[in-house]
Symmetry: C2
Subunit: 335 residues, 2 copies
DNA sequence: GTGAAAGCGCTAACAG
DNA sequence: CTGTTAGCGCTTTCAC
């Protein structure tokens, strides 16, 4: 190939002005059918494909949006990826996924770098400080998922995991458990704080004695420590910050010969891939991630296209309900 | 904010020409320390961030590359994502992930849409036809992973799963198995054909009787059918096209009360997340996906920067070895 | 309905 | 070392 054909080449070949060619290709209404046809023909005779950056530079729009996640390989985000992807595709946008590897700095860098490359972004579990987030949101339309803050000038959607945890507590209480442990997540985790805040009042109401263990990293390898701590604490049930942690707990318990659920019940959070693969299958709080993704993309699109509920700014976060999925890892409290 | 500051604003504020500002910001060598400092100061006083599309348009470089996968939520690709991501970051590139949802058309569309947005792309398990692939590769530097073709004018890296399968066969033979089944993948899968081709000669050499079952979709829900077929075939071991399928087989076997590995041994492929989570833990062929990712990114970068082994074109595919991970799902053949 | 021309923000020669 | 000057390929007024 000598050189990618440009719109100019197309126009020349069709015998029209570049502006006409541009219109014919992008706004098929205002040009005569005949001309449009000629241009179209010339375009694919030449194998013409528009330059994204040129188009972006002159129009200010890229029709692509970013989904920024802390870790693409965390199964928790799978549903989100699918949900935003589906809605975005319907809206004619291309989705690009950016992995920040749990780093606030990488997240900020990506967001800055993306300016001009994407029309907007959906931020999942953003690690940014409120201030930095607000600052970046001023430059790029943003929708946050599982993250919000008073100062945040962007729509957000929240997964109501705290209420799911309360359901888990009720479930355990109904099985006769009295002493349960909560294997907490990272101290810096906003989600963990929300969960703990919901846990204590519910425990009180249900007459449950809740011991907080941890904090633990939300990964499988942190499970053994949590399992040992739970056994030590003498509880009959343990609720984990997330499924990954619960997987590790299950493994350790198995290795120590502690029978689940006969001696100890285990509850996870998120219902990720694998939760029904482990033995015993994990009772867990399921989040409607795909719905969350669709909703987030929806909010972003209406913001981008000026449609929808005014600006969406200052709106209360959309809160999505979760539900408890009861599997084999929970059972009656030991006598 | 009224308007994003441009390089021009920075230059004005610093009292220099835009070109000087440009150089000060991007090539800190050729400008006096003093001027560079002034420009830098002006830039962040204004909160200047360069426009990606303008830069791309005029320089022809975007410093971002795409990783195109059939399904981002398939754990098989996790290592790849990490590998390319790491190498790309080291090289100063931004990685964007594109999910084609197993559709050749979406893949082609993405690739065309990406032209001008990315400098190149790593294609994992491309679904495109040879012709279409060659055509697109002419427009955009591409490196293929687990896909190659005679006509392909792009470097490629292959995972040598076939040899891993042969190791699995040897393992089974050494355990006394004589009759084994292969639960095959999609008929259109290039990988499956390669695997079958390796399977038969090895089986012959080892004196194994191999029955091919399927084809099955490479998903967990296809497992039960495969499990039933294996039982019906009267084999003592079954090797699955991939781990997902093996998971489904394990589940079904458990449900039917068939003891693994006492009555039937099961081997998977890929060693994905979850393989050591299931019970019994799955014996499987592990692929060095992270290495593959690094290598692919490496090849792409040297192609982009004109470094490395000439063009890399016409090069033989790089082949990466796999190894068998023996866990609890395989054992001695039943007497 | 169609053409001419003016940039979008930046980089890259080419002069000094 | 720094300023001037062209564009990169496209969209978009503004005329005709």
């Amino acid at each position: 190939m000598s050189r990618q054909p440009t719109l100019r080449d197309v126009a020349e070949k069709a015998g029209v002005a570049v502006s006409t060619a541009s219109r014919a290709l992008t706004r098929p209404g205002r040009i005569s059918a005949h001309t449009t046809e000629r241009v179209r023909a010339a375009a694919d005779a030449l194998g013409y494909t528009p330059s994204a950056s040129a188009r972006a530079l002159s129009s200010g729009r890229t029709t692509t949006v970013a989904l920024v996640v802390p870790d693409v390989t965390n199964p928790f985000y799978f549903g989100l990826v699918r949900g935003t992807g589906a809605r975005l595709r319907e809206g004619g946008y291309v989705q690009v996924l950016v992995d920040t590897e749990e780093s606030a700095e990488a997240e900020a860098r990506a967001l800055v770098g993306l300016r001009g490359t994407v029309d907007g972004a959906v931020l999942a579990a953003s690690r940014l400080t409120d201030a930095r987030l607000a600052e970046l949101a001023a430059d790029l339309p943003i929708v946050a998922v599982n993250r919000t803050s008073p100062s945040l000038a962007a729509p957000s959607v929240l997964i109501d995991t705290p209420s799911g945890l309360v359901q888990a507590l009720e479930h355990l209480a109904s099985l006769g458990h009295r002493r349960v442990a909560y294997a907490s997540g990272p101290r810096t985790s906003w989600s963990d704080r929300r969960r703990q805040a919901a846990l204590h009042p519910a425990a009180e109401r249900l007459g449950l004695d809740v011991t907080v263990l941890g904090p633990y990293a939300p990964v499988r390898t942190a499970g053994p420590a949590a399992a040992d701590a739970a056994v030590q604490a003498g509880v009959t049930a343990v609720v984990a910050f997330n499924d990954l942690l619960a997987f590790g707990i299950l493994e350790r318990l198995d290795a120590r010969g502690v029978d689940v659920p006969a001696q100890l019940s285990v509850v996870g959070c998120d219902d990720v891939f694998g939760a029904d693969l482990v033995r015993p299958a994990l009772t867990t709080v399921a989040s409607p991630m795909e719905r969350a993704g669709r909703l987030a993309a929806d909010l972003l699109i209406s913001r981008l296209e000026g449609t929808g509920p005014s600006t969406g700014f200052g709106t209360e976060p959309a809160v999505l309900p979760t539900h408890l999925v009861i599997r084999a890892s929970t059972g009656p409290a030991p006598a």
